[in-house]
Amino acid sequence: MLSKRAKTNLQAYMFVGPLLAVYTIFMVYPFFKNFWISFHEWNLLEVAFNPDAKEFIGIKNYLRTAWGRQLVWELGALWKIQLLAFIGLLISGWGYLRRWWGIRVLIIGVLFSITLFILLGFQPSEHGRWFDKRFWIAVRNTLVFVLGSVPPIMLIGLLLAVLINYPNRVMGAFRTLFYLSSVLSVTVITLIWKFMFSPFQGLPANVMKVLGREPIVWTVNPDLAMPSIIIATVWWVIGFPMIVLLAGLQDIPVEQYEAARIDGANAFALFSYITLPGLRRPLIFVLLYEVISQFQIFGQAHLLTAGGPGDATNTMVRYIYNTGFRDNEIGRAGAMAVFLFVFMGIFSFVYLQISSRKQID
């Protein structure tokens, strides 16, 4: 006979068990197996025919991915970005003093900034080179994409939220229409924008022709390839930040606006002294959420520009995909995925820290 306690435990695990099993086998196990793969010379096709064709090579894949020959450390070509690390340091300290966040965020911010400063100093000397220059190009492209897409996403999302914030049906209708693009799949939006950007068949091109101008060549132009991906992405994902910020706006008590208006505040003052401070939490949430999701960009770069022209829009996930499934080198691809884990882990950790969930007891 089981004790009451044991019986309760058994019952509870029968409810949790199915999810726990699926989650462990198909999420946690692959996560750790990825590290194991990354320590091997592992060709997908060879291992498929002969499971013993893989060879343990330690951290060699990591060196091949991120290291180079005759690297030196100096304040060099990237000094401007290195200076950004100091700004990160200042912001984390300032926010801590102003009590925007606690000691944990301060420590993460400081460690992150210092690591960034040190890592960016490494570069090949005169006779040296990176082992895999394309990896660093992919990292740069991913960061450029995130830095280029997240600010417009937040700004336009905020603008739309403020514009449609009416307490009636009108808001619901506009919310639905602006969210519509977000329910489409990535392959549909790349299909649409491939043709929007086409200099022969696209909509802007049709307008340009009528105006007697030369149509702009978008996706095959090295300077405009990344902007075209950013435009398509901003258009695609704008619904999410709009809804979050709209909900945030509606949480701000109307009385605050009324009181300020009696004191003679104009629209600009209302926005900067009531609306923006009131939106602090939703804005931080949207920022982290968008950084995390845009970092994993794959479909747009794969289908709209195929990573090109050259490597101009090759992003991290696309490079991992190509290394693993076109070149069949999944050991090396696994090592690259670990770098992705590290980048993403930092942001996801902060994201988890700031979310205010009910605690289970």
Binding site: Q11, A12, F15, V16, L20, V22, Y23, I25, F26, M27, Y29, P30, F31, K33, V162, V170, F174, R175, F178, S181, V183, L184, S185, T187, V188, T190, L191, I192, K194, F195, M196, Q201, L203, N206, V207, V210, V244, A247, A267, L270, V286, Y289, Q296, F298, G299, L303, V317, I320, Y321, G324, F325, I330, G334, A337, L340, F341, S348, L352, K358, I360
Partner: protein, 281 residues
């Protein structure tokens, strides 16, 4: 609210008109797609700008759609997507609500630890584990099956977290009354908690369905046989070749691929909005 500070009706109507123009511009790419899908391929090769820069179809034809339903593989891909999305959604609802019920309502050993273990999954980037997931399904010899398309969709922590959070807010009295009547846990879960949780379940359902229908990277990796493609992968494979000559057909394919999600969104948009807001709190 901000612009109603003008305080009069005129300001209100001006902003509504401004918003209408903005929405129209925002939806232009979608209008363009639908318009192109209704025009014959042969004409689109020559020009896409017959009427109103191509925003209005001229001449109108439904040949593109008929052809997709006839000789093309599109109906098969559509069916695959439907099977995968419906089954995934049903399974996610069951797994998440069962686990959420245990986390929210049962005192058991190791609860905090197990919950933290599942929360930690939020830190794993989904686009980062597809290599090892691929080798796992290779070992199981399960690529190109519905199983491989469905199972990874179930291994996500979000649903469990949403359900746990929702059920934590359900007052204790509901189950205490049933417990006094001698009801067992399965009865409490299926007959009391599930009906109460219906709003949260619809929210989770629409989020899961949209995510599954639209997922691209994993179906791309796990399906090599074209008859196991989902509609997203099929559409991607159609647009990677040279297809300027079949513009109308491929746009029709895009419209068909979007139809179910747009329809479900229009029906369940309130639930979706609620789900997004809950995530942001």
């Amino acid at each position: 609210m901000l612009f109603t500070t003008v305080g009069n009706k005129t300001g209100y109507y001006i902003s509504i008109i401004f918003l209408c123009v903005l929405v129209f511009l925002w939806l232009l790419p979608i209008i363009f797609m639908v318009s192109l899908s209704l025009q014959p391929n042969e004409l689109l090769v020559v020009s896409t700008a017959k009427l109103a820069f191509g925003l209005l179809p001229s001449p109108v034809t439904i040949k593109n759609y008929m052809r997709l339903l006839g000789i093309d593989q599109t109906p098969r891909w559509f069916l695959n997507s439907a099977i995968v999305s419906v089954v995934s959604t049903a399974c996610v609802l069951f797994l998440s609500s069962a686990a959420g019920y245990a986390f929210a309502k049962i005192e058991f050993s190791g609860k905090k630890l197990v919950y933290a273990f599942i929360l930690a999954g939020l830190m794993i980037p989904r686009e980062g584990v597809f290599i090892s997931l691929y080798t796992l399904f290779s070992d199981l010899k399960l690529h190109n099956t519905y199983f491989s398309l469905i199972i990874p969709n179930l291994a996500v922590p979000l649903g469990t977290i949403l359900m746990t959070q929702f059920l934590l807010g359900v007052p204790k009295e509901f189950e205490e009354a049933a417990q006094i009547d001698g009801a067992n846990r399965w009865y409490i879960f299926s007959k009391i908690m599930i009906p109460i949780a219906r709003p949260a379940l619809s929210t989770l359902a629409i989020i899961t369905f949209l995510a599954t229908w639209n997922s691209y990277l994993w179906p791309l990796v796990t399906t090599q046989e074209t008859n196991m493609f989902t509609i997203t992968v099929g559409l991607a494979s159609s647009q990677q070749g040279y297809f300027e000559e079949a513009l109308g057909s491929i746009m029709a394919q895009g419209v068909i691929a979007s139809f179910p999600v747009v329809l479900l969104f229009l029906i369940f948009q309130k639930n979706l909005v609620k789900g997004i807001v809950v995530q942001s709190k």
